[in-house]
């Protein structure tokens, strides 16, 4: 759970759509999502599947939704482990997850399927593209670079953070994004137009829209990969839609669906618990806007210490 990743929004959506559901967070003590809208929080090291499975199994967790790209890949590689412990996941195979997580693989796959996507390459100092273009570094964000010097500095930063920077050409147009769930050979999707994007590429202001042409593109692309589970696909539109990237989890704005009438995290929970989703129609309200802003997670120091010393806090037992 991280304030940048969608865990907070997913937990909030589930609280609204499945009020009887107990939510357990796995993460680190300094992550805001460990303190908000969850019933228990447990500290685990990144990608420590064994620890997650052990705690989840002991606490009666029956389903898990990973909310960070790298977690999705780790979970996909351990699908059988979760299954052995009776913990449900809706997730693609790891080689399919990599098509989304590795932006070069996304470009290669899109090109092979004649899906329009701006040229995307591994960054090198010799790259002599027309400026501006974009540098991407995994969970570090998306950076619009205006000079070669800026590109070099940002690439160095990304490399120091353990990333292998990707460069993507700029395309002028209007940005759109689609969040969805692929399961059982079908796709349910929620679309937004991005109205304001932060410097790091995060959507901070958007509005729900519906375009059946875009839905068709999404369904074709996502189902052709063989995707299962939550996703986000981002586009830029001039006269046509051009794919920018795919993410292997819900986006941070996913909770706008609660107000629009399509609560995808809650729907995913119903799927994971093998219930027929109560949503009878995938039609949702357009014109619902959202603005993301920094929130403050308030708690007691003993809860933070409790997480660090004991490894977890059960909020409900402490009447939080």
């Amino acid at each position: 759970m991280s304030e940048k990743a969608p865990g907070l929004s997913v937990a909030r959506s589930i609280k609204v759509g499945c009020p009887d559901m107990h939510i357990v967070a796995f993460g680190e003590p300094m992550q805001a999502g460990m303190y908000i809208d969850v019933d228990a929080s447990y500290v685990v090291a990144p990608y420590d599947i064994d620890a997650i499975v052990k705690i989840a199994s002991a606490k009666g967790v029956r389903a898990i939704i990973p909310n960070m790209d790298d977690d999705v890949e780790a979970f996909a590689e351990s699908k059988e482990v979760f299954s052995d412990y009776g913990i449900n996941l809706l997730i693609s195979d790891s080689n399919i997850v990599r098509i989304a997580n590795d932006k070069l693989e996304t470009y290669q796959y899109a090109s092979s399927k004649s899906v329009s996507m701006p040229e995307t390459v591994r960054y090198s100092e010799e790259l002599d593209w027309e400026l501006p273009y974009f540098l991407k570094g995994g969970s570090r964000g998306v950076f619009r670079v205006r000079t070669r010097e800026e590109a070099f500095v940002i690439a160095q930063y990304l490399k120091q953070m353990g990333e292998r920077p990707i460069a993507q050409k700029n395309l002028n147009g209007e940005p759109y994004s689609v969040a969805g769930i692929a399961y059982d050979g079908d796709v349910v999707a929620l679309m937004i137009k991005k109205l304001r994007i932060a410097e790091n590429g995060m959507t901070i202001f958007g509005v729900t829209i519906y375009d059946k042409d875009l839905l068709s593109i999404i369904k074709d692309f996502v189902l052709s990969i063989g995707w299962e589970g939550p996703f986000e696909v981002e586009f830029i539109k001039d006269n046509n839609y051009h794919l920018l990237e795919m993410n292997s989890r819900f986006p941070s704005w996913i909770d706008v669906g609660v107000s629009a009438g399509l609560n995808l995290p809650a729907m995913l929970v119903e799927i994971l618990f093998e219930q027929k989703p109560k949503i009878e129609s995938y039609i949702y309200r357009t014109g619902v806007t959202f603005i993301r802003f920094p929130m403050t997670a308030i708690s007691d120091i003993d809860k933070v210490v409790g997480m660090k010393v004991i490894g977890g806090v059960e909020w409900r037992r402490n009447n939080m």
């Binding site: 759109y176 137009k193 829209i209 357009t286």
Partner: protein, 79 residues
Amino acid sequence: MNLNRINYKRIGERGYIFDTKTGYIYLLSETSSIIVEGMLNNNLEGAINRILSEYDIDEDTLRKDVRELCNSLEEICGK
């Protein structure tokens, strides 16, 4: 013309159109707002007559403006 794709709302003296497909917003003048309301209520002639009675505008100019507005809406709804 299929107007289902747009949402129209009046705020005070003016209205706006939200294109539910593209997310674009079009702010309308007072008279354009009356025209769009007339179209949505299947009473375009009533809207034209109201404008002619309340505003200082000749009919030929108004009808030309109405045609242009209709063309614009067709362009939006047809995209």
